[in-house]
Symmetry: C2
Subunit: 367 residues, 2 copies
């Protein structure tokens, strides 16, 4: 502890939201053979994005445009809305942090689901907010219970991911649209749509761009295969979108990041290709799970959550046994979700490793 | 204004620290011929770094290592200290924001110089801190006056850049070292060494890595020519360094950024080459200034600050006239520093444009 920290900072835990696979590899002393834990896209980014990034690398002596003009224009055109609604940022993680900073004062209440995205909770705690965690209803986040909690606590923010991480479930657009009319007037809906590019048609709600009740988050990390670029964006009514300018790291999106994201967005054919590959991979993961007596849950994302059927300790043992066999996977952190493990829609090579390793891993976990 | 902002966020100005050259170019309707305003390195990044970034682009589907292990190891080896002292981040800008968040509660006092780095002030204001701005002593930040202000106000932070931006001056190591013993016990020295790679020998103070009284900031944006990558780092005693883990965007440094920075650090020959080019360019800028009756100030950085000799309005007219002639430069924002303009150590082509444009710009400003 250093004596210079604020009282709030002094009270924060030293824990981090996620342990990276590289950290595990260093501990193990050997690399994973299948990297299936972080829902990265093993199908890679668009070759056009790779080319754009390589070209931008030679120009990286120049700061990126702090107004992100061309990037915002490209995103705006993609969505058919005005650039003023768009807030690019250093991944959804970075943008969630800025949103919480803008809206949550110490002591303010925030509602999320028990087992939902840890990084959002990290930011709320980090800014002194108080979290209310609502249980899932089965494998879905529970809209009515979330709304009830928001009313009961006077929450400033209500977080919902749709499709959901870590369960892979989703609500149809109508459910989200209906939530907006039931929010407390003082509560903003934080709609994390990280996986929306992989979701079935009819999942993305129809929300007017200037609707002040919601802020939506999108990313280039999943379908676009650019997790290592760090690029996401928010969609919000202009007054809220522009409030980010008061606190953001204005030069934080570099030249390579902006060029890569624009090129990726302009290659929707690649995204369609990836969607096809992901559907194929999810079917294979489901087959592998069933062949081993496990239950794959329906997925609207680029991963399959598998119910191991015997509670958290067993699922954790399966996960450990898979990692011992060089398969990197993750699992939900909180009961009852932690009866599951979560496997990214990998390429054929990675899923072959999974298929080979799972029977022995299950045997080890059962032994 | 949106109704969801905290009282602090509601009170923040909508102003931004810097206007980017791209924004000016869009307003003007044509590009600059010489980009000499942001102290970018026109000599570019190491070709090895460019190659490393291009290779990493193809692997950008993977998140960057959130522990930044290899990057911290490379920086640690470079400085001959333990990795635990190192905090990589999204440029010094991003790291300054995290530092202020960790240390400055609303109402806390912070000392800086009048005319010093606007982005630091942006972060202090953004977290509710109260700034005391100490005048420069001539063309130098004034260590004794800064210390006096820190004592008088009970400041939590004292910001000093050495070498200085925007004046290009520097204090020898001994001056900084002596400051540490004169700090109030409750005040942390924030030592911004963005330009240290370009400074004369004997500028970097000898400070023990575990000295708790200071945090130093370095960047890949200046000498290393990677402003568009967004990569800087702090050096601090371990308790303070590790406190950043409580609030940082853990996956915020992507795969390309980490690979590029490691490669740049490993190519010290390129940095030496750039230093030579910068010295050459600074001599040429000084000659151009003198040939036009202006006074170039001594520079320990990769830019030359030029005293235009007639106060802020005249210098601003010169700057505008240069921009009208397609030369992007910047100037200090506050009197009496604003009698100057600030010109980056550009390559031969850019300085030829400057040499051609300056006489007419001066004539226009005088007319």
């Amino acid at each position: 502890m250093t004596r210079f920290l604020t009282p709030l900072a002094q009270g924060l835990p030293a824990t981090v939201p996620f342990t990276g696979p590289e950290t595990l590899e260093r501990t193990r002393g050997r690399p994973f053979r299948a990297r299936l834990g972080a829902n990265e896209s093993l199908f890679g980014p668009s070759p056009r994005a790779v080319e754009a990034m390589a070209q931008a690398a030679a120009e990286a002596w120049m700061y990126g445009d702090p107004d992100q003009h061309d990037l915002k224009a490209a995103i705006a055109a993609h969505h058919g809305i005005a650039p003023g609604h768009i807030v690019p940022g250093e991944g959804i993680d970075g943008l969630l942090g800025l949103l919480v900073r803008l809206t949550v004062a110490p002591g303010d209440r925030v509602v999320t689901s028990a087992g939902a995205y840890p990084t959002f909770a990290f930011h709320v705690t980090g800014h002194g907010g108080t979290l209310t965690r609502v249980p899932y209803l089965g494998n879905h986040e529970d809209p009515q219970a979330l709304l009830d909690a928001a009313h009961a606590t006077g929450a400033k923010l209500l977080y919902l991911s749709n499709p959901d991480n870590p369960m892979g479930s989703h609500h149809p657009a109508e459910v989200i649209e209906a939530m907006l009319d039931l929010l407390p007037a003082t509560c903003l809906l934080v709609l994390d749509e990280a996986y929306i590019d992989l979701a079935p048609a009819g999942t993305a709600p129809r929300i007017a761009p200037d609707d002040p009740r919601v802020i939506r988050f999108r990313t280039f990390s999943k379908g676009y295969g650019l997790a290592g670029l760090r690029m996401g964006y928010a969609l919000a009514a202009e007054p809220l979108a522009r409030a980010f300018d008061r606190v953001r790291n204005h030069f934080g999106l570099g030249r390579i990041a902006q060029a890569g994201a624009i090129a990726a967005l302009n290659d929707q054919g690649w995204l369609a290709h990836v969607r096809g590959q992901v559907e194929h991979a999810k079917l294979r993961i489901a087959r592998i799970a069933r062949a081993n007596g496990l239950e794959p849950l329906p997925s609207a994302t680029n991963f399959v959550t598998i119910d191991c059927g015997r509670g958290g300790a067993f699922a954790r043992a399966v996960l450990t046994a898979l990692q011992d066999r060089d398969v990197f996977v993750r699992m939900p952190g909180i009961a009852p979700l932690d009866r599951c493990i979560r496997i990214s829609a990998g390429d054929a090579a990675a899923l072959a490793v999974l298929e080979e390793a799972l029977p022995a891993a299950l045997a080890a976990a059962r032994g």
